[in-house]
């Protein structure tokens, strides 16, 4: 049976800021409103709404999917919130995809929001409660721990240096200088700046880490027959994949993200891609920490294990390189409002593939892009492949 084709036909986003005046519902509305405007649709055209947003602790509202519903345009509509931790931002377009691909709906809004500044005084403290309540939380862990543990294992396994990794932060923050929504764009940042920033949790320094951010992003998805009426430049969702590894994260090797590979294989398979390194023109892997971009490129089979730093060193992943990676500026540069950051990557592919990315435009009229996010206890891979 032929699968129904699903296109992205509109996108919108707020600025990514450290602390927003807007309530979470207002931020959500701003992105949603923009996305509809971008493709000339109104709320009457929308049949269902998908919401992606990460821990309730951030916005400080229990069942926050309900709280965000009106801003997402869900009034008296079918509305659901999907949730796979940090992977949510790239999962919610998958959720939109199955809403439309199922044949139940022709036009679907896909919205992601995070207002991390509402967790006060320190958003990072919310992460204590992602650990196992009985066997880990009594040790008072923080989010930096698991990233630092994983980064160290990755460096040790493949002999990668902190300087190799710092280049990712430099590339992405420089790219972000061209993004109007960016929180931390910086054209002049250097590897030394990253290496000399304060040590938070060795091997992680401050500039290895993406910032606490508020923001929202929205997309409009449509079935083929509707998409072709709305736009002559639809961007198709060609493949989707997701995979969730065991919660017993201390019972597996952290050097390689096999869950990302599982998700990628599922998406490549659906998209009919056999040689991803040749067939993917732009990549937006998840980069909440700089080493994660490298780690994820390997999981996506776009680099050999331990070899992603070489791609970076060779300039392959620059915006003008053979395989631009995070031309948006990524989470390190644009900012990391968890779920919204993931969906920002999908919006970036949408703009890039339509040739509408302005100063960030990747040369050579890219045909196909891949976005990926990661989440939970280094456990979830979510992958979307889009093409024109």
């Amino acid at each position: 049976m032929a699968m129904r084709k699903v296109a992205v036909v509109g996108a919108g986003m707020t600025r990514f800021v450290r602390r927003a005046q807007e309530t979470a519902r207002e931020l959500t509305w701003q992105a949603t409103h923009q996305a509809l405007d971008s493709c000339g649709l109104t709320l009457d055209d929308v049949e269902a709404v998908c919401m992606g947003t990460a821990p309730d602790a951030f916005d400080g509202v229990h069942m926050k999917g309900e709280y965000l519903s009106d801003g997402a345009g869900a009034w008296r509509k079918p509305y659901m919130r999907s949730y796979v931790g940090g992977g949510t931002g790239v999962f919610v377009p998958i959720q939109g995809w199955y809403h439309v691909a199922s044949g139940m709906f022709d036009v679907c809004l896909v919205v992601a929001e995070e207002k991390m500044s509402s967790f006060y005084p320190h958003a990072q403290a919310a992460f204590l409660t992602i650990f196992d309540h009985t066997t880990e939380r009594p040790l008072k862990p923080n989010l930096l721990w698991i990233f630092a543990l994983e980064m160290n294992r990755y460096m040790q396994t493949y002999g990668i240096s902190k300087a190799d990794i710092a280049r990712v932060a430099v590339k992405n923050k420089r790219n972000a200088a061209d993004h109007p929504s960016a929180l931390l764009g910086d054209k002049n940042i250097t590897v030394e700046d990253v290496l000399n920033s304060e040590v938070l949790a060795w091997p992680v320094n401050r500039l290895d880490v993406s910032p606490v951010t508020d923001g929202a992003v929205a997309l409009v998805l449509a079935a083929e027959h509707v998409a072709q009426r709305i736009t002559d430049k639809p961007v198709w969702i060609e493949g989707v994949g997701w995979s969730l590894d065991t919660a017993y994260w201390t019972n597996r090797d952290l050097a390689y993200p096999r869950y990302v590979e599982q998700a990628a294989r599922m998406a490549y398979d659906m998209a009919g891609i056999r040689e991803p390194r040749k067939e993917i023109n732009i990549v937006e892997p998840y980069d909440p920490f700089d080493y994660k971009e490298l780690h994820h490129l390997e999981g996506l089979l776009l680099a050999d294990r331990g070899q992603a730093p070489q791609l970076l060193a060779d300039g392959v992943t620059e915006r003008t390189g053979n395989m631009p990676v995070c031309p948006s500026g990524g989470l390190l540069g644009v900012g990391n409002p968890i779920a919204a950051a993931g969906l920002m990557k999908i919006a970036e592919l949408f703009w890039q593939l339509r040739g509408e990315a302005g100063a960030r435009q990747v040369p050579g009229q890219p045909k196909r892009g891949l976005a990926q996010a990661w989440g939970d206890l280094m456990q979830v891979g979510t992958v979307v492949i889009m093409g024109r």
């Binding site: 986003m13 707020t14 600025r15 990514f16 800021v17 450290r18 602390r19 927003a20 005046q21 807007e22 931020l27 701003q30 992105a31 400080g60 229990h62 006060y120 005084p121 320190h122 990072q124 403290a125 992460f127 204590l128 650990f131 309540h133 009985t134 066997t135 880990e136 009594p138 040790l139 862990p141 923080n142 930096l144 721990w145 543990l149 994983e150 160290n152 294992r153 040790q156 109007p180 929504s181 960016a182 938070l200 949790a201 060795w202 091997p203 992680v204 508020d214 923001g215 017993y248 201390t250 019972n251 090797d253 952290l254 919006a347 703009w351 509408e356 990315a357 302005g358 100063a359 960030r360």
Partner: protein, 171 residues
């Protein structure tokens, strides 16, 4: 999207906007308390900690010894066969030197969280804990370590019944 940021929604504020009362705002704190049932596997793990040993579980189908124990093997979905008492020694799989507490307070002497592969469990099977009695600069992946326990009378059946792991002196 190529427009300038001035046209984009999203209104940035500074901390000073709050301090100066320029922005209406409020505070709240959720009263959220739980008593999670420990159940069979984790209950038994905690009981073992109180006794002063680490408890694992064995899946005979996968020939795998895990820690902490669990009632079902996540790989073959067969019930775990038996508990296995493990050593309180192990090998550092990875570690960090962390200068920030969970609630983002800076500390001068780092905490040293580590994944420690436990002796008697299958390779790469370990637990999260901390290292102590060690110069942070001397910590290495592959370092052999041993649990330092609280006094028996002070143990309550918790992961914190182990204070930390410390290096095993080479004989």
């Amino acid at each position: 999207m190529s427009e300038s940021s001035q046209n984009l929604p999203g209104t940035p504020l500074s901390e000073k906007d709050f301090q100066d009362g320029l922005i209406l705002h409020s505070y709240d704190e959720m009263q959220a308390r739980y008593a999670w049932d420990t159940g069979t596997a984790i209950g038994s793990y905690l009981a073992a900690l109180k006794e002063g040993f680490l408890l694992g579980g064995r899946c005979s189908t996968c020939r795998r010894t895990v820690i902490p124990p669990r009632v079902v093997c996540e790989w073959c979905f067969r019930p775990m066969d038996e508990y296995v008492p493990l050593q309180d020694t192990g090998t550092v799989n990875t570690y960090s030197l962390c200068y920030v507490t969970w609630d983002v307070q800076r500390i001068r002497e780092p905490e040293i969280p580590a994944v420690i592969e436990i002796d008697g469990a299958s390779p790469l099977h370990g637990i999260l804990h901390k290292l102590g009695e060690v110069d942070p600069q001397q910590v290495r992946i592959g370092m052999r370590v041993r649990a330092v326990w609280k006094e028996p009378a002070e143990r309550q059946g918790a992961i914190t019944d182990i204070l930390y792991f410390k290096p095993i002196e080479e004989a």
